[in-house]
């Protein structure tokens, strides 16, 4: 069954194709677009009604914003934190800040339902960290989060978008706008952590333009394309992938709010049908959500035949989801080769690798055991899902980019060998803002250490694991250690005897967060209470709730000889346990699970 590892090819790929950036700054891109092809954005509101915004509008209003900010004392290189929902004002203000010589720092909005305490802590950290002088938001935030008004004490200018547009600076008071250069910062993008403080990824005009150029080349964008996105505009995929790249490539773009998509996913497909959309982008769960939440009756009039590319990124890609999506919407004219599983990270502006358009979805079957325990990708032709793992390739580096797989010493491995994915490109950040320590750890000799594990095979990149056991839930990064540490502090939980890991949830198409904790408590009522306490504590501290908490007796969680929790082993035990519940009568599994989970007891007995 196994094919021996024969490849001695070095795990290194470089895209040396010649390229030339069309513009030197995003401002130049906007100015040229305003003349050459002003039609640009189509915003859909929460009732899915359109309003159009041209590149000319963005330039005109952007300049007005710039004058206003300069009038309020904004100096070159001042950081401006922007918290606005998807809409025209976001576009005007983003470019207004750039035109005034400032640096936009977009952040997420709190939803009516979010954990405000944690949100505010993060926001305050970001404002301090980037030394923000201005904070721009919308007035409605007073209703959603009154306590957010305290932010006004932290900055010299706390502004509402409406007041900027209602008070234009008279022409006679206009100041000359500064000259913006390619290496000036065009964005500080804060990366989310769970408890680790967010870090500010510094990206220049040149960085962003290089990435945008590569995205367009790899997806063969032309001005005839029409794009769509419901990803938030403050986030790299929505901002760079959805807004800036389509500006650069003269593409019309339909923008929806994330809430609108979740409320009525069929609106997304209706808009694709109505505007003859050719390119759409969404994380895996978006496609899954469409499969489960759209009924055939509401989709039967759709025509999805213009759609040529569905970019899929930010979350691990699930082949099942892709298949179901194609099955469901194939009859609506959907092509079967539209899925483009892509890979990237904020530190590299956005995108690092794209598959070839000639062969968009490459799936290969590997031996699960070899990948999980021996760090080597060996082909498998098994039909038993416990023995194999199907991986979807994320393709080749974009123009001017290099990718290699390295061991812990930074030495390049061979094809099929699993190691850390390293990226080098003109899209790379110059560093994290005012954080030389974190920068040194991420950037070594010009290579970005992504923390993602993977391998190269026949020149194609495959991702085999997450950032060193990091869990990704709906695009959020969660470190198991953080969750375990917090769970350990709950009375009744044995200190240091917790294991957190993710389990793929087939029904949801996403990852479930599972927490296993040891306890000496035996009474059922007390166990239930403890579960609730742990749930509440993790939620309060991290803003994320475990999907399942399992309490086990003392000594159940497997540890290494040095006392480190073996999350992978623990996950196996958990999964086998799950099997008992679903199959009920499979005695063999029960015995096996019992043996595995109580292995240490038997071992102790045998020694005695």
């Amino acid at each position: 069954m196994n094919i021996a590892v024969d490849s001695k090819k070095i795990a290194y790929q470089k895209n040396s194709e010649r390229y030339e950036l069309r513009y030197e700054t995003l401002i130049e891109a906007l100015e040229k677009r305003a003349v050459a092809k002003p039609e640009f954005l189509i915003f859909m509101d929460l009732k899915n009604k359109e309003s159009r915004v041209s590149a000319k509008d963005i330039l005109t209003h952007g300049k007005a914003v710039a004058q206003y900010l300069i009038g309020r004392g904004l100096k070159q290189d001042d950081k401006v934190v922007v918290m606005l929902p998807t809409g025209a004002h976001f576009a005007y203000i983003y470019f207004g800040i750039l035109l005034a010589g400032g640096v936009p720092v977009p952040v997420s909005q709190p939803a009516g339902t979010s954990n405000l305490g944690k949100y505010l802590d993060n926001l305050k950290h970001i404002i301090h960290d980037c030394e923000a002088r201005y904070f721009i938001t919308y007035e409605k935030i007073k209703v959603i989060a009154a306590s957010l008004m305290n932010i006004s004490d932290l900055v010299s200018g706390f502004l509402f978008d409406d007041e900027i547009f209602a008070n234009p600076v008279p022409v006679e008071n206009h100041k000359p706008l500064p000259v913006v250069k390619p290496d000036d910062l065009a964005l500080i993008q804060y990366t989310s952590g769970t408890t680790g403080k967010p870090k500010g990824v510094m990206l220049s005009h040149r960085n962003l333009l290089h990435n945008i150029h590569g995205i367009g080349v790899a997806s063969e964008m032309t001005p005839d394309d029409v794009g769509i996105s419901w990803l938030p505009m403050y986030h790299d995929m929505g901002l760079i992938g959805g807004f800036l790249s389509t500006l650069y490539w003269h593409i019309s773009m339909v923008l929806m709010a994330p809430e609108a998509f979740i409320f009525k996913p069929v609106w997304w497909l209706e808009n694709i049908s109505k505007y003859r959309v050719t390119m759409g982008v969404a994380p895996n769960f978006g496609y899954h959500y469409c499969v489960t939440r759209i009924d055939d009756a509401s989709s039967h009039r759709l025509d999805l035949s213009a759609w040529r590319l569905a970019l899929n990124g930010a979350e691990p890609i699930d082949r099942n989801t892709l298949t179901k999506f194609l099955e469901k919407f194939g009859p609506r004219g959907l092509r079967d080769d539209i899925f483009l599983p892509v890979y990237g990270m904020a530190e590299n502006s956005l995108a690092a690798t794209f598959p070839s358009l000639k062969n968009t979805t490459v799936v290969r079957r590997f031996n699960r055991e070899k990948i999980e325990t021996e760090d080597i990708a060996v082909d498998s032709n098994s039909e038993n899902s416990k023995e194999y793992i199907d991986l979807v390739s994320v393709g080749y580096p974009l123009v001017g980019q290099e990718v290699r797989i390295a061991n812990e010493n930074g030495e390049t491995l061979h094809e099929r060998e699993i190691g850390e994915i390293l990226v080098k490109s003109p899209s790379l950040m110059s560093g994290y803002y005012e954080n030389p320590e974190a920068t040194r750890e991420a950037l070594k000799n010009g290579w970005l250490h992504t923390g993602d594990m993977g391998f190269i095979l026949d020149g194609l990149l495959f991702i085999s694991g997450r950032k060193k056991e990091m869990i990704i839930k709906r695009g959020k990064n969660i470190y198991p250690y953080d969750i375990e540490r917090i769970a350990s502090t709950v009375a009744g939980v044995r200190l240091g005897c917790c294991a957190a890991f993710d389990v793929h949830n087939e029904n949801e198409g996403t990852e479930d967060l599972v927490l296993v904790c040891e306890t000496c408590i035996k009474e059922n009522d007390d166990l239930d209470r403890l579960k609730r306490d742990i749930h509440a504590e993790v939620l309060a501290k991290l803003g994320i709730a475990p999907d399942d908490i399992m309490l086990v007796p003392k000594g159940t969680i497997p540890k290494t000889t040095s006392g480190k929790v073996q999350r992978y082993m623990c996950k196996r035990i958990y999964l086998e346990g799950e099997l008992i519940l679903s199959q009920g009568k499979n005695l063999l599994v029960i015995v096996k699970t019992f043996l595995m989970s109580h292995f240490h007891l038997f071992r102790r007995r045998m020694r005695q």
């Binding site: 929460l46 009732k47 009516g112 339902t113 954990n115 979740i262 409320f263 939440r293 994320i544």
Partner: protein, 84 residues
């Protein structure tokens, strides 16, 4: 739509919330907050709203409904808009 009662709305909405939260309907409290108590993020809350409005075939003002934070607030909103 004439026959909808507050009891019916409550029972339907709690069923939806319970399913999304992985709990039993009788474990839910009126004052449960979507994120703090139920572990919902904003998108999951929106999914709950989406499901209930599909069930009753009505379109709420998303702007307004996004500000609601507890189960009882949503129930009041639904009663106001569904029972005339």
């Amino acid at each position: 739509m004439a026959n909808i009662t507050p009891e019916q709305i409550r029972s339907d909405f709690l069923k939806i919330i319970a399913k999304l939260a992985g709990k039993k309907a009788d474990q839910l409290g009126d004052n449960d907050r979507f994120l703090e108590d139920l572990g919902f993020d904003s998108l999951k809350s929106m999914e709950a709203i989406s499901r209930i409005s599909e069930l009753y075939d009505f379109e709420p003002e998303l702007d307004e409904i996004m500000e609601l934070q507890t189960i009882i607030e949503v129930l009041h909103y639904l009663e106001k808009h569904l029972i005339t």
